[in-house]
């Protein structure tokens, strides 16, 4: 081991270690305690995860064996045996769609501007610090913002037929979540762009490329894996948020969309997986298994999204 380790002078390290182990036994003992503590910490965190997962998996498995894919295709219901997560899945994917379409372009564009174009002055620093702080704002606050701005201001009540967002709708929730993840997208993208070596940019300028060409052809492609990682974090965050969508007014009772058009559905009653889970968790014990199954579905979707991004990131890394 010591011989393979990189530090400056392997020989001197070996000498030191041998001397110490000969001189005292204490250090060895401490080292072993340390190792055991590390191992215990690992076991503890694994045990917690295993406990939670087994709890969820048990319920999910019972629902799967009883109901099969019915559970995935049914809508909400007051009867545990008929309740399904379809409306929740649809809502969650729609919300992710809003995040992808709104937060990503705006966020990445902001990051490019801040890193490549903005002058390095006090104002830029001030803006950077504030964006960083925004990532730490609790999601409930964003929920209240969404309620005030998207639900109340832009969503007139349905008598007026003119509300842009339709009030308590998936549009309002999608916009709120997009705003919520925007700082995360900006920060992670900016960091990815900053990590691109200066030499690459200089090489571009050296052959006469403009700033736009350097950004487009050199900086962005090499920052792509990092940007992707950030966007995936943002998607996972958006999928798991319950507080904002509950404040916006996600339905936790029953609803059907009738023969509403696509736009009307976007402006109409909605729900999403976290809201479904919240609603069912308040129900009687009959709902315990379907709640576990809904949690499992949310976990699977999150893992799938993460997996896709990791895969995409790896692809890009190989290409560059």
């Amino acid at each position: 081991m010591a011989a393979a380790a990189p530090p400056a002078n392997p020989a001197s390290i070996t000498t030191l270690a041998v001397e110490r182990s000969l001189a005292s036994r204490k250090r060895d003992w401490l080292g072993q305690v340390f190792q055991v503590v590390l191992l215990l910490s690992l076991i503890l965190s694994l045990a917690i995860i295993v406990f939670l997962l087994s709890n969820v998996l048990g319920g999910a498995w019972r629902v799967w064996t009883d109901r099969g894919t019915d559970f995935l295709t049914e809508g909400g219901s007051r009867q545990a045996e008929a309740a399904g997560v379809w409306q929740g899945i649809r809502g969650t994917l729609t919300l992710v769609g809003f995040v992808v379409l709104l937060a990503f372009p705006i966020g990445i564009a902001s990051a490019i501007y801040l890193e490549e174009y903005a002058p390095d002055n006090t104002l830029t620093k001030f803006i950077n610090v504030n964006i960083r702080n925004l990532t730490g704002v609790p999601s409930v606050v964003y929920g209240l913002l969404g309620l005030a701005v998207f639900v109340r201001t832009f969503g007139l009540d349905r008598n007026d037929e003119g509300g842009l967002t339709g009030g308590k709708s998936v549009i309002s929730a999608g916009l709120t979540l997009a705003v919520l993840v925007l700082p995360i997208v900006i920060i992670t993208s900016a960091e990815a762009i900053r990590a691109v070596p200066r030499s690459i940019r200089e090489a571009g300028y050296g052959v006469g490329a403009s700033r736009w060409e350097v950004t487009r052809m050199l900086v962005l492609p090499s920052a792509a894996p990092g940007i992707l990682t950030g966007t995936v974090l943002a998607i996972s965050r958006a999928m798991g948020e319950a507080a904002p969508i509950l404040l916006i007014g996600a339905n936790t009772g029953f609803f059907s969309s009738g023969n509403q058009s696509f736009v009307e559905q976007l402006q109409g009653t909605f729900t999403a997986l976290p809201a479904v889970i919240f609603g069912w968790a308040r129900e009687t014990s009959e709902f315990r298994d379907v709640t576990a199954a809904a949690i499992f579905v949310l976990l699977v979707i999150t893992v799938l999204a993460n997996g896709t991004a990791v895969w995409l990131r790896n692809r890009f890394e190989k290409q560059w």
Binding site: P221, G258, N259, T269
Partner: protein, 381 residues
């Protein structure tokens, strides 16, 4: 090489984007149908027979009372909001109705609470307000200001049962006893007998036993908790708080109950907790206690304080003699009902035999026949 990479990045981003975006689009357009079908399928067993029964006769004879709606031809939107206590009934009715219409009507049922429900209802944002109490005067004014005319329809009775272990000798408690045992001033009381002094001070003549007191009941988030507080404890609690004898919370409102009791949102847990200990005390919805009569004892309640003890059963709850019961209502916007055949049909169905059967399915006490008739004529008339 570099060029290709540059093209690939936005492409990949769009791939992520469209993978999610497309899913949605496909989902919503292609899946409204399956989603609807499954709902229909789920409720078909209970519903289609009813539909056949209600739609078949009018074809032969003229419909009795109403112009028997052809549910499948209905379109439009129905928004139900209000009490979380009534929500289960409305949600079950909405599910069955959704099955009848074949999913052509957009129905939504939510339960933010009675007061929030009336706010939305009086602003014209909801067609039906579920309510666990009658509408207040200021809400009537708000509705009038909002140009909302409404019909008040009683649909069910919510009865609460005070329960203890079958081994406990206590048979009957009055509000003073309940306040002395469960109210905020009893914080720390661990024996029934220790609450005697306060109960007597409040005018009770009940003798409380020398038993360890363990309270297991719904938590503050529960509608059953609110019902119990409002029906049994609030009057005494407010008076005591006014005299400065009972504590106030951070908002200068009287504290509702003692904080040191076992609370559970799960009725089964409460029943188990009550059944397993001699000196237990708690409360649950009547229907649930009634189902578990072998595990728990349903205490009589003296609502007046004169020793008349009423034990809860379907009769005493329905005739109003059992004090811990309240009527559940739906309020329907009649202006909208006149414009919206779907809303009209929904309320018709709600009050029909098939619809009102959901009251029992949701574990509430059905209205006695005469009150149900009164509700029906209030709607038709």
């Amino acid at each position: 090489m570099k060029k290709r990479v540059f093209v690939a990045l936005p492409l990949a981003l769009m791939l992520v984007a469209s993978a999610c975006g497309d899913d949605d689009d496909d989902d919503t357009s292609a899946t409204t149908a399956p989603a609807v079908e499954t709902t229909t399928g789920a409720s078909a067993a209970t519903v289609t027979s009813g539909a056949a029964a209600t739609t078949a006769p009018p074809a032969a004879t003229t419909a009795p009372g109403s112009d028997a709606p052809d549910y499948s031809a209905l379109e439009g939107e129905i928004v139900v909001t209000g009490s979380s206590t009534v929500e289960p009934i409305s949600a079950l009715v909405a599910e069955a109705f959704d099955g009848l219409t074949g999913g052509n009507v957009a129905v939504s049922v939510d339960g933010p609470g009675t007061s929030d429900g009336f706010k939305a209802f009086c602003a014209g944002e909801a067609d039906i307000a579920d309510a666990s109490r009658a509408i207040k005067d200021e809400e009537v004014t708000a509705c009038a200001d909002g140009g909302v005319e409404f019909a008040e329809l009683a649909v069910a009775i919510d009865g609460l049962s005070v329960i203890t272990s079958p081994d406990n000798a206590v048979e009957c408690l009055n509000y003073a006893d309940l306040y002395a045992l469960i109210g905020p001033e009893s914080e720390g009381v661990e024996n029934w007998a220790d609450a005697q002094a306060l109960a007597t001070e409040l005018g009770s003549t009940t003798t409380l036993p020398d038993l360890r007191l363990t309270i297991t009941a719904p938590g503050e988030e529960s509608g059953t908790f609110d019902s119990f507080y409002e029906l049994a404890l609030k009057k005494i609690g407010d008076a005591r708080a006014e005299e400065g004898l009972a504590p106030l919370d951070g908002n200068d409102k009287p504290v509702k109950t003692r904080a040191d009791y076992n609370s559970s949102p799960n009725d089964n847990v409460i029943i188990e907790g009550i059944g397993g200990e001699e000196g237990s005390l708690g409360w649950v919805g009547f229907a649930f206690a009634d189902e578990n009569r072998d595990t728990v004892k349903l205490l009589g309640v003296d609502g007046v304080g004169d020793g008349t003890c009423v034990v809860p059963d379907a009769t005493t709850i329905a005739d109003g003699s059992y004090p811990l019961a309240r009527t559940l209502y739906i309020y329907v916007n009649t202006v909208k009902a006149a414009e919206n055949p779907a809303l009209q049909a929904f309320v018709d169905y709600y009050l029909s035999d098939d619809g009102i059967a959901n009251v029992e399915a949701a574990d509430y006490v059905p209205l006695p026949a005469d009150q149900l008739d009164a509700t029906r004529s209030a709607w038709v008339g």
